[in-house]
């Protein structure tokens, strides 16, 4: 190709040059399931493409847009599925072919000066995947799921979020048919920001409710995942 004069060797990122057992296992399981007729290769491909393209960006856009547009905020709270479509997510057909485990009643939980919302799935790890992407590892752990519903203030403090006693914490438990995300209050000092600037501070953690948006903070908290203690082996 004309003008193609850069050196590929210098631009290729390092890769793992070793076939791991886990890579082999994933392929083996998939092939056996397909051969047994449990699902088709086509179904697997489409679900995998869905998993590859989802992320928290649409949800961040939704919140930022609601902050700068009071009419859109009203729509987001009254008709969250319609508002989701405006940021490119169709909950009725998130993959274009339907994912039953994601078919859901979706609701956006708006924080107020006296109420802070946070989401969990105490049962397993239900998460608003079409609009927020895959859940972080800690969200799936029994530690977070079990303890958040009992001691929300302490668990949030473990994420570095210390809320004063006068702010109530509402823990919303997701399930297979109900998914939620949090719309935090717009932080002070960002009133003249553009929507694109605001998107940067609406992180995944903010959308789950384990962090508050803050000017200058655009990354998620890294938490140490604690191993679950199984009742049968403890003590």
């Amino acid at each position: 190709m004309a003008g193609h004069d850069h050196d590929h060797d210098r631009t290729v990122k390092p890769m793992v040059d070793e076939i791991t057992d886990f890579e082999v296992l994933e392929i083996a399981l998939r092939e056996l399931c397909i051969e047994k007729g449990i699902f088709t290769a086509e179904e697997h491909r489409r679900f995998t493409e869905f998993a590859e393209q989802i992320g928290p960006t649409p949800a961040a856009h939704l919140v930022a847009k609601a902050w700068v547009d009071p009419e859109f905020k009203k729509l987001a709270l009254a008709e969250p599925m319609t508002a989701s479509k405006e940021v490119g997510v169709d909950w009725m057909e998130p993959t274009g072919f339907g994912t039953p485990s994601d078919f859901t009643a979706f609701q956006i939980l708006a924080d107020t000066p006296t109420v802070h919302n946070v989401i969990v799935c105490a049962l397993c790890s239900c998460y608003p995947r079409p609009i927020l992407g895959n859940s972080p590892e800690w969200y799936r752990t029994p530690n977070y799921r079990r303890r958040l519903v009992r001691w929300p203030r302490q668990v949030l403090a473990e994420f570095g979020l210390y809320l004063p006693d006068e702010i109530s914490i509402h823990v919303q438990d997701s399930n297979q048919k109900h998914r939620f995300m949090v719309m935090a209050l717009q932080p002070q000092g960002t009133e003249d920001w553009t929507e694109d600037q605001l998107v940067e501070i609406v992180t995944r953690d903010v959308l789950i409710g384990v962090a508050l948006p803050k000017a200058g903070v655009t990354t998620n908290v890294i938490t140490e995942t604690r191993p679950a203690i199984h009742p049968g082996t403890a003590g």
């Binding site: 990122k13 390092p14 890769m15 793992v16 040059d17 070793e18 076939i19 791991t20 057992d21 886990f22 890579e23 082999v24 296992l25 994933e26 392929i27 083996a28 399981l29 998939r30 092939e31 056996l32 399931c33 047994k36 449990i38 699902f39 179904e43 697997h44 491909r45 489409r46 679900f47 995998t48 493409e49 869905f50 998993a51 590859e52 994912t99 039953p100 485990s101 049962l123 397993c124 790890s125 895959n134 590892e137 799936r140 029994p142 297979q176 995942t225 191993p227 679950a228 203690i229 199984h230 049968g232 082996t233």
Partner: protein, 113 residues
């Protein structure tokens, strides 16, 4: 469900987990390259769970939690998710252990060809 499965136990012992592999080869991706395919596999299974032995979404996650906390407590995520799924499918008789062993060998042979 908590009975050891030899082929999976060997993987735990060989420990080619992503944090070790990524450090060894200087790779920065936070999750292994097979993770999205595993997500697709889990979704496809949940979608298809009509055969009585195939775990439904809740059974799959419950078994993953129980196995990740016990038999595979030393594996990080998402290796524990993958191995727990394999364990569930073998323990439920969806996949035969000998059949899995043979397939692991043939897939490895193909990838190393």
């Amino acid at each position: 469900m908590s009975e050891r499965i030899e082929a999976l136990q060997e993987m735990v012992e060989r420990n080619q987990v992503w944090p070790v592999m990524a450090a060894k080869y200087g790779v920065e991706n936070p999750v292994p390259p097979w993770k999205t395919s595993l997500d697709g596999l889990c979704d496809a299974l949940d979608h298809a769970a009509c055969d009585e032995n195939v775990p439904n979404f809740k059974e799959r996650r419950d078994e993953e939690d129980a196995l990740s906390a016990t038999v595979y407590a030393n594996l990080p995520y998402p290796e524990n998710q993958l191995v727990a799924l394999a364990h569930s499918l073998v323990a439920r008789g969806v996949i035969d252990e000998a059949e899995l062993k043979r397939r692991l060998a043939s897939v490895r042979e193909r990838l190393e060809a």
